[in-house]
Every structure is written in structure tokens, then in C-alpha cells.
Symmetry: D2
Subunit: 363 residues, 4 copies
């Protein structure tokens, strides 16, 4: 299958670029009978859209969504849900000086290698704006997960060297809304915001860590050997721009422990089987075990920075220097939060249908 579709039974195809006419998604395989409105999608898009605080890009996009198909009398009708967002504030002039000069840390040079050309206007399809498609698909997926009381919640746990303290899993969703960084630890959030603004003032940028939680998933989701749930969740997170690492549960920290220390032992909580610890992050053998699923990803500093950088002029085939003007995020982590949730929600919706937890025909 071509590269712009994710999922097998709940399949989302996205399209569009930063400076083209529009972006959008087609959600195929959503069962009929799910209540869905433009407002449901708009709310998620608003969480992703730029220009909402001093720590995001100043590009002013309303990102108004229009649903083109798939809804009948307020509910999904089982046919593809197409939704579109038109670009309004695309300003290509700022990019003219980048023509033929691939930006360090961006995919420009790879695009040329692959496609024989690239859209120098803000990264084209490689721009973070392509995640509008994720969010459309994710909004539908979240509504579907809601019918099973499954929640997907992401939050920022680290920016640069500032780490957030751990917070009760069930409080994160609320706490995250209380600051622009989307960090559940308010004190850390304040420091993070300062660090981001400092980087911005220096024409620089910083990275961080975003954690995504899945609460309420049933045990038995995931398909060994090559369709494991953790593998598919990792895939979708790694496919988000700027992500360089993904881990589940204790992740890379497993190296610090022995099996005696981190094997999650089973016990009975009333009639339910649970594990005393959750170092595995809710997934064992590639399948969910009913405990909270915990994923963390490393997000690199936004490569678009205004300070001068060395590159190559591909036309003249000689070394040169560029300064990126444009309007950029000094730290993309806060805006990655709704995108990570969307990506994860789509994979979950797909696996829930594939595994028979959701009727593929209708609710």
C-alpha cells in the first residue's frame, strides 16, 4: 500500500501540504452508527492549530474543517468520511531563498533524492501541517474509542533538561490543560515555558519527551508476530515528524534492572487479574494485558531555526549558508501532544476492529 494510509480495517489516508490548497483525510472503515459532527473534529484541530501562544509559530490559520462525506443524519453511515481544511495564511515568499538549498535537520534533501524535486515552500508535504490529517483521523478514532470507554491522553514530560514530576494517571488529562506547554506538572511547566522562550529569543529551539497513555484498553489486543500492538504504536509515533525514539513501559531503563526486579507479577484484585507493577507498559508479547499502556517518545529540537546554517546549493553544487526566516515553533512538543493522541487513537481503533472488539459493520 502506498505510504499515506495508516491502518488496515480502520484505514486513514491523509493528503495535503503546507502551502498547497488544502489538507485533509479520508477515514475508511469506521463502523456505521457513530455520532460524529464537524465540531468533534474541530475541537481536536483547535488543540493542534498554530498561533495559540507565544511558544508556537505565529502562522495564523483558523484550520476550519469541512466534512465532505460519510455522515448521514448526524451519524457515520459506514462509508468513507472525507474532511478537508483549506490553507489560508500560506506565505511562500519567505521560502524563496531556500530554493535548492536543503535545510539542515529537515527532509528536504531526502525529498529531492526520492522525488527528483521538493516543495521548498515550508517543507510541502513534509511540513508539520500534514498532521492535520492525523488529527482528523484521530478525532474520529477517539469517538470510536469512547464507545468502549478507552481514553488516549498525551502530555509533555520533559523539555530540554527540565523533567516533570510524575502525576496520577487519571489527573493528567485535566492538568495538561492548565498551561500552554501541556505538562501535567505546573511548576515544571513554568520552567519549560521559560526555556522555550529563551531558545526562541536566541533563534534556537529545544526538544523534549512526550508521553502517551492509553487507559481502559482490553487485554488481548495485538497480533503476533509482525502486527504486535507495541510495534504498531511505535511505528505510528515514529512516523510523526521530529520523533527520534519511542519506548514502552520502562523502555530503555529495562537495561538497569534484572528480571527478578522488573518482571511484573500477577495478583487478583477482586475478580480481576492485574500486575503488581507495570514496567511492561501494558503490553507483553505484543498484546495488551489490560493495564495502562504507556508510550514515550523523544522529540528533537525543531530544525527550523533563524540562526545561519551551512548547507549545499544543489544547483551550483557548492557549499553555502542559509538563514531560515519563516514562522516556526521554538519547541514542537506542546503541539505534538494532540498529534500523538491522534496517531495512537487511529492504531487503537484499527486493532480494536481487527481483533473483534468493535463490530466492523455498525455499532
Amino acid at each position: 500500500m502506498a505510504g499515506n494510509t495508516t491502518g488496515k480495517m480502520f484505514a486513514v489516508t491523509t493528503f495535503g501540504s503546507s502551502h498547497g490548497r488544502a489538507l485533509g483525510a479520508v477515514v475508511d472503515g469506521c463502523p456505521a452508527g457513530l455520532e460524529l459532527s464537524e465540531e468533534d473534529i474541530q475541537l481536536e484541530l483547535n488543540r493542534r492549530k498554530p498561533g495559540t501562544s507565544a511558544i508556537t509559530t505565529a502562522r495564523g490559520e483558523g484550520d476550519q474543517v469541512e466534512i465532505l462525506s460519510g455522515i448521514f443524519e448526524g451519524k457515520t453511515d459506514g462509508t468513507p468520511i472525507a474532511a478537508v481544511v483549506y490553507n489560508k495564511d500560506a506565505n511562500s515568499s519567505a521560502y524563496e531563498n531556500l530554493k535548492n538549498k536543503p535545510r539542515p535537520g529537515h527532509g528536504d534533501y531526502c525529498w529531492i533524492s526520492r522525488y527528483g524535486h521538493y516543495d521548498y515552500r515550508g517543507g510541502g508535504r513534509g511540513s508539520g501541517r500534514n498532521t492535520i490529517g492525523h488529527v482528523i483521523g484521530g478525532a474520529v478514532a477517539k469517538k470510536l474509542l469512547e464507545t468502549l470507554n478507552i481514553k488516549v491522553v498525551a502530555h509533555v514530560t520533559q523539555i530540554g533538561n527540565i523533567k516533570a514530576n510524575t502525576v496520577n494517571l487519571n489527573l493528567i488529562e485535566d492538568y495538561v490543560q492548565q498551561n500552554v506547554v501541556r505538562c501535567a506538572d505546573q511548576k515544571a511547566a513554568t520552567e519549560m515555558e521559560e526555556l522555550i522562550l529563551e531558545a526562541k529569543s536566541e533563534g534556537n529551539s529545544v526538544g523534549g519527551i512526550v508521553e502517551t497513555l492509553i487507559l481502559g484498553a482490553p487485554a488481548g489486543l495485538g497480533e503476533p508476530v509482525f502486527g504486535k500492538l507495541d510495534a504498531d504504536l511505535t511505528q505510528t509515533l515514529m512516523a510523526i515528524g521530529s520523533v527520534k525514539g519511542v519506548e514502552v513501559g520502562f523502555g530503555f531503563d529495562v537495561v538497569k534492572y534484572t528480571a527478578q526486579e522488573i518482571n511484573d507479577e500477577y495478583y487478583m484484585e477482586g475478580e480481576k487479574i492485574k500486575t503488581t507493577t507495570n514496567t511492561s507498559g501494558g503490553i507483553l508479547g505484543g498484546m495488551s494485558n489490560g493495564m495502562p499502556i504507556m508510550l514515550r517518545m523523544a522529540v528533537k529540537p525543531t530544525p527550523s531555526i533563524s540562526s545561519p546554517q551551512k548547507t549545499v546549493d544543489l544547483e551550483k553544487m557548492e557549499e553555502t549558508e542559509i538563514e531560515i526566516i519563516g514562522r516556526h515553533d521554538p519547541c514542537i512538543c506542546p503541539r505534538v501532544v494532540p498529534v500523538a493522541e491522534s496517531a495512537v487513537a487511529m492504531v487503537m481503533a484499527d486493532h480494536l476492529i481487527r481483533s473483534g472488539f468493535i463490530n466492523p459493520r455498525h455499532l
Copy 2:
């Protein structure tokens, strides 16, 4: 697609379990005209097979491969290559006491949740023996990559808290063969071996980090937005048992730096465009940029340990304790090395065909 196939154009389907009759793989989509013998596959299987040193399980399996189809006059004929390995030393008796008692850290409980039962004999399909299928597919993929001078090399870089020193990328393949740990730093390897034997003597196990390198890949491999090369490579590594985290290039360390510090700048080396640093690990925007591709994964301590562990008796629905007898690896990292190479080689073969670098019909 069901869960036991990986790849779209170079598609490998694997089958078999630890205590069933046989394991194997069907490789579909390999172009005709590739020289391939049973010996090619056997060599890779020998690197994976158990019982080769004191730090691996004592299960004595010859793991002899038989090619059933797809080869004509010493070359692939373009039709599916099926290959099979019969189980010889399966000893199910050791597992009788584990019936209905899911092992901590293993997928047993998840299998029951999903399939309504599970093969208590050594994990069944969930056993590490399922990676025989990976290695068969990987051996074919490696032969295909060789035709483009692309190499996939994995090695152990950390066991417990012992970290290996960095070694020149081109020497790793040789150095790795000089010790049973498969670590390119001989001094560290000795310490690692001791640590593993110590864990073994205590009925315990340790984890580590395995790095996989792809050398010689062309720029322009990978399909935005959902079929990115790093995302697919990460997926396949995360689908290997016991892996809890995967990172590319600087991985989680990107958080420690600003964009000014880690944006890989471009320069000319003769006629070739290269980057001065390779913090991105050879992949930007989901596509290769022609630099070495570097992946690292965290492998947890083998969950099968002989010391007593708490679990639940699923028949009586009450808490209980188990001791796992069997024959297990006190550290799986050395044996993960050929599996990681295989998994990565299959994804690369698939992307090379999908992207038109290899003629899908014949060489």
C-alpha cells in the same frame, strides 16, 4: 493483512512454534535471478541457534533448514521461497507445571485473553524460536541487499550497566565475531560475559542494548507520511520479543541538545553531498539521506528465570507461585543480534523494491 506477514512487495510470512512440528517462512516477492542456497540460510540460522555457548540456553537444536520451493538452477525463480526447520529437541514436560499459570514478564496471559487458550509449552508461537522465520527471511533479504552493496550489521553495545566503547563502523562486523557476547569492544565483552554468567548462577537474567547499522543505503528510501523508513524499521525491531524501546541516531539524547547543536549540516565531499555530523542516524523526514542508518533497541532481561515468582492460577482463579524450570537464556542480547539484522534486512529489501531501487521482476 493478518499478523504474521511483514512487508508489502518483499513479503515474508512466518509460522511455527517452540514445541510444534516445525517453524519456517515463505518469502514472496523476491525478484528472480538471485543466487541462493540452503547454505546461505543455514549460516544465518547457525548464528541464531541455541546451545552455542555457556551464555545461551542449553536446548540442543541443529536448526537444519530445508528449502521447499522458489529456487531453480541455483537461483530464485521469482516464486515464493518456502523454507522449513523441524523441531528436534522440544521437551514439553518441563512446562506441565506452568499450565494455566501465566509467567510474569511473558505474553502468556495476553495469549489467553486473545485466543481463549495458550500453548503453555515454552510460549508456543510467542517463544523466541519464532525468530527462525525472521532469520530465513532475513537471509534472503541480505543476499538481495548485497547486490547493491548494502550491509546490515548488529552488535551489543550494553549489557546491564556495562557499556561498550565506540568502534569504527566498518570494523564492527569483524570485531563482533571475536566473542560470544557479540560486542565489538573486546574488553567490555569480557565483563558482559561475566555479568551474564553471574545472573545465570543466581537464577536471574539481564538485559542490554543492541545497535543495528545499515551501511551503503541510497538516499531517498522511505514513504511519507505513514510509511516512513524509520517508522517501519522501528516497527520491525519493536516486534522482536523483549524489545521495549527503539531509537534512531541520537534517539532520546536529542533532548539534551538544541537545534543549533544537533542539526546535521551539509557539505560536499568531492561530488557527494554529506552531513558533517549524523545525529539524525541517516534518516530525515522519514527518508534515508545516504549516511549510515543507526538504530538502537533496549532488550529487557529474559523473563524466564528459575527463581520463584508470584502469579495467578487461571483455572482456580487464585494467587499462586511458579518456578520456571526449562532451559533459558540468562541474556538474550547476543542471540538477538542476527534476528535484528534479519528484521532490518527484510524491511530494507521491501523498501528498496517499493522505491524502485531493485527491479521487482528479476535482477
Copy 3:
């Protein structure tokens, strides 16, 4: 994969229904560098659109296409091409009386069985209007085929009992444009038109046979065993509404002959290998042999007729009668012609990329 995508490498996802807001398609996997304009797509849509003659439905739709993405400086940029057509003349009131009363010969009852409801307004997604998506995808595919001088040409060969005489394959494309029936035999076309108008005046409808030719395809296209070219072409034609049979070459007539009579023998025409006859219709063993590919399909009489029909009231669960008002085609064959070409062109584009005849990255 969900059901609204066709193709693996050249993958087209369509959406929209007869009385919803819009219809459209996303074409993923088209190589970069193909010249493509809205005009290219519009020309094909104009061939499909209703209201162009007395023998088609009177619904007045301009079917103006808008390309939303995937084009940069007049050429495909390798990213998904999304295109949309808004519904303008949807008139749902005519269908109110059909609520809960499935129309004979239509899929209404099946939709209810599957989705728990159905869009009674003109068939919703089941309407022939969904083929707008086909034509968008087909227009792109045709442009791609043109780069290899491959042509797809469809024409009507029979309406009711009126059969057209055979015409030289290379003249069909021109001849077909000379009458509204899209039959290459002008004399037969006139009779066919009369037959259709007669059926219309009686509140009835007629069916026919549409032949699709592929000229200029290379030998060696198609993937045994389950991805055969004839199988995939047949699949796509059978997926067009109202089609009840598909045949290749001599088709069902092979039964009348022995192998001695119809085995196509090989001979040399200069340096080229050809067959003396083409009873196989250009495909043997599921792969093209370089001869013209010939497909024929049976199209049933349009089930929407104005005379009274018996059905069941699904709410009251009792038998009842309906009269379909609406605006319908008394014979859908002429309008199937561009749809068949589109469907076939998409499959060909997919196979050409999958088989390495077209570079998947860029032209």
C-alpha cells in the same frame, strides 16, 4: 484494507455519495513529475457526467473538479492527489417515499443488512455517482499510461439484442465519439439509441455489453498466483455497479472450441514475438503477453424504473409496492464506458508500478 481503496502501489481511495456534500478521490502513489491539470480530470468527468443526451438521466450536474493537493508547478509532486466534486443538483425529496422500502435490483436491502441503515436518497454511496471517484483516479492513471504509450479504450458492443459489428481496434476510440451510445458501429448505434428510448418511454430499462481494450501494454505484467492481471482487471470491472459478468478474450466462447482450435500459436513478426490469434485476449497464466488485452462485461438493465414494483416495508415488516420517481438512466452502458476505462487504467497503473515498468519515485 478497508473497502474504498483500489491498488497497492498506485492506490486510489474514493469517497462521497449521491446526495451528500461532495464526492472525490485521493490518488496515492503516483510518481512525481507527471504533468497533470484540473482540465485533464475535467475532460474525463465530462464524459461521465449526466444530462448530456436524451438517453441519460436528466440530473443536471456540472461535476466541476477541484484538485486540493499533490500538484506543484503543473506536475505531480509524489504526494497524494486529492480531488473533489461538489454535489449541486441533489434532490432528495423524490426519494422520501422509498424510505424503508428497498428497491428491487438495488443494493438497498444489503446496505441495511450490513450497516443497520441505508441512505435512501438515491442509493447514497451505492449510487452510480460514486464512480466520480473512479474517473478522477482513472484520469490520473491514463496520464501515467500515456507516458508508456498505453491506451485504454472502452465501447458499447451490445444493447439488448442489438450487436455491433467488429471494428478495427485502432479506430474504436474515434468512432465511439460519433454517437451518444458510444458504439463504434454507427448503424448499430442508431438502433441501440432507439431501443433505449423505447425502454425509457415504457418506464423500463435495458442492459448491454461493454468491451474494454488495453493497447500497448508490455508483456510480463501480472503476479501469479493470486495477483494475476486478468483476475485484478476482472475484479475492478465486476466492482462497477450493475456488472454481472466479465470475460477475457474469447471468454465464455472458449467452451465452443477445442485446444487445437484456440491455442494461440507464436510466430515472429520481424524481431517481435506475436501470436497468430488472440483468443486469450492478451493474458496467459495471469500475465500479459504483449498482445491487445480484451475484456468484456455484461451490464444489467438499470434497476431504477418508474413502473410499479413489489417490495417489503422494513418498518412494518409487510409487503408493499413502490414507484421510483427520480431521474434515471434507461441504459447505463454509455456512461459506463469512461468508468470502465478508469477502473482498468487504475489497475494497469498499479501493476505497471508494482512490476517495475514505471519508476515509483519519479518519472
Copy 4:
């Protein structure tokens, strides 16, 4: 996906060729808990195997199946079911004279065009022996269908110009077993047998029509727009060697009628909704309507005949003549019967799981 896999959720990958070591299949996606034995598969293979009567090839193959994986304690365990049949009576010497000389009516020339070579020994993978894989997959699928009381029954309805009389649908399965032609009309069967033997004695062959019925399928199976049930069933039948046409219900005969004559009207039979006629063959709008599904396919005369035929020597690039010795079927229709059933059963199993009629995890 590469070409040797059929199905998405119930995915069967087949391998092997006529003169290689073995043939077989891997069935992935069969839910756990289905009773399955080697005997179940062997019974179906026995129906397909050669040498059982004077009207089939004399090749003497026991076609003994061995299940390698996927069964635990007599039931499917949810993991891939691999099964293999070793070739025993392969006799390649008869084919030496065909080297570089493509047989008329066979895919040899297409294989060379695609793969740069071909297995001249009996067609290799292109041989009818590849349908052993179909039958293995079909045997599993049939067992799965049985759990829903769905039956797939195929029978010969025409050989050459001899047509069978219509028989009650429910009697066909029994009647078919009473003669070697597998025709439900005993009188016609006798004539058909004579015709086949006559062709054989003349070094010639004849074709025919095979009908496949699906009895007991629920309404609502199939996925518009591109995954329609009739389209997928047609695809799988057309992918069987020698098939040149497929039709559903009235098929090509729809052309002879008007909508008033063949629209299947609905009525109530007790609580059930049925159609008074079944010209649509149980499928409307690409979805089943609960009536018997009826498919017919045209099978061409076996192209392997012993009389001399003209072809081209591909090495010398000059015209030549060949005589095919080997051991061939003078009419393949009787042996296509179990293959057609298998192909159809696999598609049905896949759609039943995809549509939620069968739990994908376990029964």
C-alpha cells in the same frame, strides 16, 4: 502485497511448483478453537489429486499433506497453519524438448517476459499443481464456514456443447459424487465423459463451465466500493488457471432482459425477507442479500495437447514446432471443481471475518 497471498484477515499464502520439492500453504488469521486435522485437508486434496480416472492426467501423486504448525490439541491455536505436500512423481525429462519453446495457450512466454526465465518443467509455479495451495487453504476455510452452516458446492454444468439440466440446489453436492465428471445431471455426465475421452484419443482437449454455489451466507457481506463480494469472488475464480470468464446470477444473460423482467422483487416468507427470483445470484450492490450465491466460470480447453503446434525458439529467435508429451488432463473441469470451492471458501472466510460475522480471535 506480493502476489501469492489471498485475503486480508483470513490470509492464505501458497508456494511450490510442479517439479520442485514441495507445494503448500500458510493460512494466517484463522481464529483459534476450530477443530482441524490433517484428515480434513487430505479429503479435499484427494478430490483434487490426479490419476483418479481415465479423464485426468496419469501423473501418480499421493498428495499426502503434513501440517507443520498452527494446531494444538486438535484445534487451531490462532497462529499460522502451515501445511505441505511433497512432490513424488515429478518427471522432468518429458519437458526437456520444451526448453526455450513457449507452449501455445500456456503462460511460458509471459513468465520469461516477467522473470527473465521460466521453469520449463511442467509450467513450474504456473502449473495446475499450484492449486494444492488453494485446496489446503480452502479446506481450512470450509471448516470455518461449517461453523455458520455455510456450504460451498461446485459442479460441472457444461463440457464442450453438452449442457447439464438444472438440478435442485440442495441435491447437487450428492449428485456430483456419482460420476467422474462431477456433473449433477447423470445423463449429461455420461455424454461429457465420452466427449472428453474422444478429445483425449485425438490428442486434443475440451473446456466447459463450472458453477459454484454458496448456500447459507448471511445478508450484508461485502465492502463497497472496491471490496465488493462479487468482485472478490470473481477475482479469485479468474485467478484459477484456464478460466476466461466469470459471471454472477444471470451473468451475460442479463442483456436479454429488461429491468421489468429481471429485477428481483422482495416478499416475506414468514419473518424472512426473500426475493421471488434470484437473477442477481445473491449479490446486489456488491453485498450478499441472503439468497444463494451463484457463480459460473468458463474454463478453456487444457492447452497441453499432444498434437504438433507452432511456436518460437527463444534462443535462436526463429519459428519452430513442438509436441507436448507429458501427462495431461484432456479436460480440466472435473478437477477444477474442488479448486473453485476452495478459492471461493477462502474469500468467504475472509469476508466473514472482515465483516464481523466470525470473531477474529477465537470461536
